[in-house]
């Protein structure tokens, strides 16, 4: 299987084996050479990855087994940090909140962005304009988003509650300053902000759905819903898989939105794992313990992604 490549390289004149030597040697050197050329191409990217991501991640695993306040040397404590996690109520709350956020944010974002994509895939007048509009939240600064949404959510003077007040009597949600409503408020904003990006991915996916299939289905008498369910959705599966993986990882490591909107409050109502890591590490200088929490978050992300990959593979087969 590999010979044609080598042959091509030869005819292209990338490498001329010296005629006096036996045949095997130049082949291997050619292989090495080809590999080296490949490596050179990914080297710049890999260097950045190695220095800025891989090394810190490996260090993270080591740090999680130590007690380190950033100064001096780290003290080896084995699994002590992980044992402490078991009994740490704040960690349990942060983990619960992270899963709460993910459990709602993932499906809602997928449904909303897919619906938007289907809508804006029609040949409507001004579709390009509305696509831009839907994408806008994604490129808006998160701090500006948080400030504006916080005002909209203001329980006393905010437009949202004034609007709701026209239809619903009695107690209105306290949104970001209520223990029960802060998380839904953050999820609404998170979905609103992210939907444009995933809509774009779905739109790209929709372009790959063959129109013949739709026509065939229509001739067979399939309604809009049946066509969506039996033609569009199966054809979108690669996109759907990619979007699901991305949105899952994004939900599990949500940080900046919550930090600027509620700062984890009120109380610990919206404290998520990433923020807890930040608190322990950069506010309280417990880098060992913070690393242990980060390892847990890392493992959750890996686990969920692997499960998604396996599921996708099984469907593929």
């Amino acid at each position: 299987m590999t010979t044609p490549v080598v042959g091509n390289q030869r005819t292209l004149g990338f490498s001329q084996p010296e005629p006096s030597r036996p045949l095997r040697k130049p082949r291997t050197s050619l292989k090495v050479r080809n590999a080296l050329i490949g490596w050179t191409f990914i080297l710049p990217n890999f260097l950045g990855f190695a220095v800025l991501t891989l090394t810190p991640v490996i260090t993270l695993f080591y740090m999680s087994l130590t007690n380190w306040n950033i100064f001096g040397t780290a003290e080896w404590v084995g699994l002590e940090n992980f044992a402490r996690l078991v009994g740490d109520k704040s960690f349990h709350i942060a983990l619960g909140n992270t899963l709460y956020y993910a459990a709602l944010h993932i499906p809602i974002t997928i449904i909303v962005s897919l619906a938007l994509a289907l809508l804006l895939n029609q040949k409507l007048r001004g579709a390009a304009f509305f696509r831009t509009v839907a994408f806008f939240p994604y490129i808006t600064s998160i701090v500006a988003v948080a400030v504006v949404w916080n005002m909209l959510f203001s329980p006393e003077f905010g437009p949202i509650n004034q609007f709701l007040g026209m239809f619903v009597g009695g107690d209105l949600p306290g949104w970001t300053v209520s223990k029960d409503w802060a998380m839904p408020a953050v999820i609404i904003v998170g979905t609103w902000k992210d939907m444009g990006y995933y809509m774009l991915l779905f739109l790209a996916g929709l372009q790959t759905v063959p129109t013949e299939l739709h026509e065939a289905a229509r001739i067979d008498g399939a309604g809009a819903w049946q066509r969506f369910w039996n033609v569009t959705l199966p054809c979108l599966r690669p996109t759907m898989f990619f979007v699901t993986v991305m949105v899952t990882i994004q939900s599990l490591k949500v940080f900046d939105l919550i930090l600027v909107m509620t700062d984890g409050g009120p109380g610990q109502a919206t404290l998520v794992l990433s923020q807890y890591i930040y608190q322990k590490g950069f506010e309280q200088f417990q880098f060992g313990y913070a690393s242990a929490i980060a390892v847990v978050l890392f493992l959750i992300c890996i686990l969920v992604t692997v499960v998604q990959f396996l599921y996708n593979k099984r469907r593929d087969a």
């Binding site: 950033i70 100064f71 001096g72 109520k89 916080n150 300053v177 209520s178 223990k179 109380g267 309280q284």
Partner: protein
């Protein structure tokens, strides 16, 4: 020919390297002559205090150059400085900006013992005493803001409420706030304004309550302070915590544009308000400063010393400093925390840790600063206790109390329940 020149250069370069190398190793003590020390600070454009201190010191000591190194402002200062300290790349002298991280720096071995500098300072220097860790001092306060009560004289007159006279307890303050709200009777104006920070409630409770301690595991001392603030926001005498946080209200705008007749705030706001009235960012109105209200009458009145809170901003010496520079660095610290540094700071409207008559004269000679006697009394006379007492667990406890603050003030959790929860969390998670 070319080659000859080049080899000549090479020999010369090698020789000079060898010579300087030798010289560096064998030099025994610091020579008399110019010394340069570096000082870490943040955001020089809007924080002129570092340059002011450096200039004043250089003027008094022409042999010394104080080189400033700029770090990011806000919480990023600690993060960036910490990274430099652990890498051994931090400046000779640095500001310990947040008192709650002092112990981390000290235990990390990044601070030089400067007990000798501390011993020579005026014992009146605000915040000096609490800096001692096991009998040794590692950083000295050069700046200390204290919390005061700002009030708008015109709104008081409009509402027909007596001006503060220094005799107020918190209950008097609460009563006045409600009277003011009613008396002014304008929808957008409240009797007082309480900013969303946890210190606006907890700082006073900790400083004024007998026997209250952050690491004592008992937070019941917070309860009366919270009950009072909740009652005030329920009565509409101050914007609710929900309104303050969701609408991102700023204390400068609330008091400066006359939306609140009173406001507890740190002494740094004097300079801000004067500047904003001059620039037009704040309305022009007559205002004054009163002592912060007290828990009970034992500390009220101008014959007593009111108790308030405020963290000193302190300066320490990097433990990794070149030995030849230690004496100069110590001298700089004595200068910055002493009367000369204080005078220099007061000249730009900043409250130094050492408040003497020169400092008070300098502050009250600034145009726009109220001239009444109570204002001067409030500024110069107070016992200021730290918001973040020096202790190993202060940072962790403050995180828990901060979360409690948002839960209580947003009325998500009743006061007693929140206090019990915080006590349990401290027992469970800290230490």
């Amino acid at each position: 020919m070319n080659r000859k020149i080049m080899s000549a250069f090479g020999v010369a370069a090698a020789a000079s390297l060898a010579l300087t190398g030798c010289g560096g190793e064998s030099e025994p003590e610091a020579p008399e002559g110019p010394v340069t020390i570096s000082l870490a600070g943040w955001d020089f454009a809007s924080t002129p205090e570092f340059q002011t201190l450096a200039d004043a010191y250089e003027e008094a000591n022409p042999d010394v150059t104080v080189e400033l190194k700029e770090y990011p402002a806000g919480d990023d200062y600690d993060t960036a400085l910490t990274a430099d300290l652990s890498a051994g790349a931090a400046p000779d002298v640095f500001i310990v900006k947040n008192l709650k991280n002092y112990v981390t720096f000290q235990e990390g071995g990044t601070l030089l013992d400067i007990s000798d500098v501390a011993a020579e300072l005026d014992p009146e220097t605000g915040g000096l005493e609490p800096m001692a860790v096991d009998g040794a001092t590692y950083a000295v306060p050069y700046r200390q803001d204290s919390w005061l009560l700002y009030y708008n004289k015109e709104l008081f007159e409009k509402a027909g409420v007596d001006l503060p006279d220094g005799s107020w307890t918190w209950d008097d303050y609460a009563a006045a706030a409600e009277e003011l709200t009613e008396g002014v009777d304008e929808k957008s104006v409240t009797g007082t304004y309480l900013h969303s920070w946890q210190s606006t409630v907890q700082g006073f409770a900790l400083a004024q309550t007998e026997g209250a301690a952050l690491d004592g595991g008992d937070f019941s001392f917070l309860a009366p302070y919270y009950e009072r603030e909740l009652a005030l926001q329920d009565a509409g005498a101050q914007p609710s915590y929900a309104t303050v946080t969701t609408n991102e209200l700023t204390y400068q705008a609330q008091f400066g544009t006359q939306k609140a007749a009173m406001m507890p705030m740190g002494s740094w706001y004097i300079g801000t308000l004067v500047a904003e009235q001059e620039s037009g960012a704040a309305d022009t109105f007559e205002w004054g400063i009163a002592p912060i209200p007290q828990l009970d009458e034992s500390t009220t009145g101008t014959e007593n010393t009111p108790v308030t809170f405020g963290d000193p901003t302190t300066m320490g010496i990097n433990a990794g400093i070149d030995e030849s520079k230690v004496e100069t660095a110590k001298d700089f610290l004595s200068f910055a925390a002493g009367p000369e540094g204080a005078a220099a700071l007061a000249g730009i409207g900043i409250t130094p840790a050492l408040i003497d008559d020169t400092v008070a004269d300098a502050i009250f000679s600034l145009e726009g600063v109220p001239q009444d006697e109570l204002s001067r009394f409030s500024y110069t006379t107070h016992e200021t206790l730290p918001e973040n007492p020096v202790g190993q667990n202060t940072a962790a406890i403050q995180t828990i109390l901060g979360e409690m603050h948002s839960a209580v003030m947003s009325e998500s959790t009743p006061v007693d329940e929140a206090i019990t929860e915080a006590e349990e969390r401290v027992a469970n998670e800290v230490g």
